[in-house]
Symmetry: C2
Subunit: 547 residues, 2 copies
């Protein structure tokens, strides 16, 4: 444990009690990732939205007023007795850095001058048994618990909500950072819930293995968070969603422990792993995950494509995945997103393309990459694609974790920027895209802030695909209310047009209003019954997921 923690020490947060970089309190990522807006983007913003692109100044986190901790001295002592005095923190900075996630409304709220809400303490348990003991203590003492991984939620999943209780703690899993049970024959490993994406890959690489799960939150999000939110990575066409990779889950609940999953597949009744995947900390805390992994790929091939329009491109992607010829990564930007990439070409170094840009990559053995690459290329060509060579695909990969930093710079410059996503059947994809785009543009135009709405497909299945929207507009006087209206319109449009309210961002607090539409009244009753069985006091992540 000591060695592992030492290896993940960050120099960016030298004073932090548990060595690993937390993200900065009021923006994405680490300070080193923060860059001013490129001149080219500032020009575009001035032209499109009439803003100067000048950045506002940010506050130092020490100056932020914070509500006082509601924990009694007895509760502090009781919690500290479980984890040791070094592993409970009421420190201003620790509380502030665990005060929520990284949605645009989260970040806008951090800019407000009123006192910030925050958990009453941050706990750093060492292992499963300490997590279990903390939940037992909190259940008996009436303290709400928000499980905390990388802090990357964009749906309010980390809001320090107390529910009916007087106090709430953040339970930070960063010390559950070991790798155990490496099984190279079966291609499985067991990973601690607190391991970040990069650290997990680093540990796996020592065994010649890779997980291949690269959501945009990859650099900060954790293994437990991926499982608890049904994350989907950019290589989902090749390696599947995170829930597809899960072999076993170890879970601590207020009612005890669960060890679920005994085989690669089973007919032994309902699959209870699927109740805890996506449970978002409302049913318990996932402490370890056994995952399917694969050998570090022998080779990676890159190939970009251009399609005359989105419909043609989407049809081409469908053809490939339905033929069983899926690349590792396969994504398609619509005309608007492709256009912005074009405009940003000077920034990211890409060759300008019109129409719709698609990116494919192929990983595996040289033979697999060759066979699969040929089959996919034949299908994409036959479906109207023009091969653009490797470069646009390599450039996409190079910049793929940078978008949240760009959002911060845009927010600083008075621009509203946010994303949302959904999924549906192939036959409903164009309809859903049109309806959601219309809902967003109509809402923002009606508010006097016409928007640019871009979209891409980044996750494909034989029966359908995801749609990922990026929305850019000038900030209104109250940008939080501005976005709330647009988001509400988009959510209603998604439900009305038959999409899922979320394909990979999860539910949290923000999508909870649509959960009854998603699973029905009786489905909600089933979730409540499960929650009551494992969390009878109702301390687990109140206000999230379950209506």
């Amino acid at each position: 444990m000591v060695d592992t923690r030492a290896a993940s020490t960050s120099t960016e947060n030298p004073g932090e009690p548990h060595a690993r970089a937390s993200m900065v309190w009021d923006a994405w990522g680490s300070p080193s990732g923060h860059k001013p807006l490129p001149e080219q983007i500032r020009g575009l913003l001035a032209q499109a939205f009439g803003v100067s692109g000048e950045s506002a100044t940010r506050r130092d986190e020490g100056d932020v007023p914070l509500r006082a901790s509601a924990l009694s001295p007895e509760q502090q002592a009781g919690l500290g007795a479980v984890v040791g005095a070094d592993n409970i923190s009421l420190d201003h900075r620790d509380r502030l850095r665990h005060a929520g996630g990284k949605s645009t409304p989260d970040l806008l709220r951090r800019r407000e001058t009123a006192p910030q809400d925050a958990p009453d303490a941050v706990l750093f348990p060492a292992d499963h048994d300490e997590v279990l003991a903390l939940l037992e203590y909190c259940g008996a003492s009436g303290i709400a618990v928000v499980p905390f991984g990388g802090g990357t939620s964009v749906v309010g999943g980390l809001d320090p909500a107390r529910g009916v209780f007087a106090a709430v703690i953040a339970l930070d899993l960063r010390r559950l950072d070991s790798i155990t049970e490496v099984d190279p024959i079966s291609g499985t490993v067991t990973l601690g819930a607190g391991l970040t994406g990069p650290r997990a890959e680093e540990l796996l690489a020592e065994h010649g293995l890779s997980l291949g799960h690269y959501p945009q939150s990859f650099e900060y999000a954790t293994i437990g968070g991926f499982a608890a939110t049904r994350s989907s990575g950019q290589a989902s066409a090749g390696y599947g969603r995170f829930d597809d990779m899960i072999q076993r889950l170890r879970i601590a609940t207020p009612a005890g422990s669960l060890d679920l999953g005994r085989a690669p597949a089973s007919a032994a009744g309902p699959d209870l792993r699927e109740l805890f995947s996506g449970s978002e900390g409302t049913l318990g805390i996932i402490t370890a995950v056994t995952l399917r992994v694969h050998p570090v790929p022998e080779t990676t091939a890159y190939q970009a494509w251009s399609f005359p329009d989105f419909a043609t491109g989407a049809n081409a992607l469908r053809t490939v995945i339905q033929a069983g010829a899926a690349p590792t990564v396969m994504r398609l930007s619509d005309e608007a997103e492709t256009g912005l990439n074009l405009a940003r070409a000077g920034d990211i170094g890409g060759a300008p393309v019109g129409g719709c840009l698609a990116v494919t990559t192929f990983e595996g053995t040289a033979a697999h990459v060759a066979h699969r690459g040929t089959e996919a290329a034949e299908l994409l060509t036959a479906a109207g694609g023009t091969a653009l060579g490797e470069n646009p695909a390599r450039e996409w990969e190079h910049g793929r974790f940078a978008a949240p930093y760009l959002r911060d710079a845009l927010l600083d410059a008075g621009i509203l920027c946010e994303t949302l996503e959904t999924a549906t059947a192939w036959s409903n994809l164009a309809n859903l895209k049109a309806k959601v785009t219309a809902a967003l543009t109509d809402s923002l135009t009606a508010q006097g802030t016409p928007a640019l709405v871009m979209c891409h497909i980044s996750h494909t299945y034989p029966t359908g695909a995801s749609l990922y929207f990026t929305i850019v507009a000038k900030q209104a006087q109250d940008p939080i209310a501005q976005w709330a209206k647009a988001k509400h319109a988009a959510g209603d449009a998604i439900v009305a047009a038959g999409g899922t309210i979320t394909h990979h961002h999860a539910v949290g607090a923000d999508h909870r209003p649509w959960m009854t539409d998603e699973i029905g009244d009786l489905g909600v009753q089933v979730l409540r019954a499960v929650k009551n069985a494992v969390d009878p006091a109702g301390i687990m992540n109140p206000g999230k997921l379950i209506p």
Copy 2:
């Protein structure tokens, strides 16, 4: 509806109230499938077990004493009011044909002379709403309900158990036999729960589509049964398990209806479909299933292989599936099973092979079959396989639904014949196979009836595979008790060696003793909580699945 039912009329059961072939009461399938033991097999039996192979005579179903129906006239009228008088049957033959499944103990019990247990009536609802109304009536009246599809359970899933109630009905779903919502773009269809495998394929073929789900029970089992038991077909490497194909489920429960599944993938919380897949009628009745399908394959390629031993063959299969080069069908018989196929070669027309026989088939477009076939062949050859050409693979496909008929002939001849199955990680496969084989052979040898235990892999995953055992021995004085001991030993060995108690046969009554080992005490509590939410009276399939 009328047209569809007319199309599925069977001439084998002209008197049956609802046109579709029920299986005969005391054996597998239809009379036309029943054949005497081939001379060659009789010779082997005489040599190995000292039995003559002479068949016992079977009773006519009209002569079988049956416990009288416990339904009161009021209950008969109440149930009849829901479905119409034509769709409730207390007929001797209907009750007998719904008296249980087709495990070897089931069939041996049918040979006993004591009165047979049977449901008190058989109900034939027309649609989802009638199912819902029946469940409401039964919940209010305290009548247990056993959902009945094709009657192919081999785990006691259809036992007419009353639980705490005085009466039990079989709810036969054969009239839910329509196809709706064909979506060729997305490759999805919605099928009624009562459609059999062949009838579903027939209806799909009219749209150029295929499901590709071919378990050994294919000819009789139903869409609803596949979903309720997490069936896995012989083409699972290509098309996935049945639960993988499920897009949406429509479910009637005593507490109301559920419509689950809004997208090809979703992060909107726990996946409740996975609670009802594998629920075996204990939580409600699946009335319609929306499934991923695919175009009728342009072409199918067959290729058989020989491996020097099981370990080499298993490793070769692992290499192929882990490389992402899976055929549509990929299976491997061990030395004993290959040897029996060899001995039966005169019967099934195959060329004799030693070592271990593997079968692969590839379906899809010509290009896909070519690319995938080449990649898989390269890997299998490199892993020590010798190509045997097409014929053994074609012969396997030709005879793949015949084994249950052979079992009947063996049972008639005084031979005990049964199967069981499990799954585990690749690294544990040899250990699990050895432990289960030893448990079975030790138990049966100790009972004075040494056994032949054969095994094959028929379902592969990147992280592991299934093991399917066939056990043949001379029947003891009490063959039901004889098998119960062997089965108990095998189940304990599976659990101790880290396998799942069932990979695709489901739990039913027979595997219920091991469910707590499978999911833990808290897992069982979660299942009970879910059951209580949707079936508060506890009428749904008592005595099955949930300990």
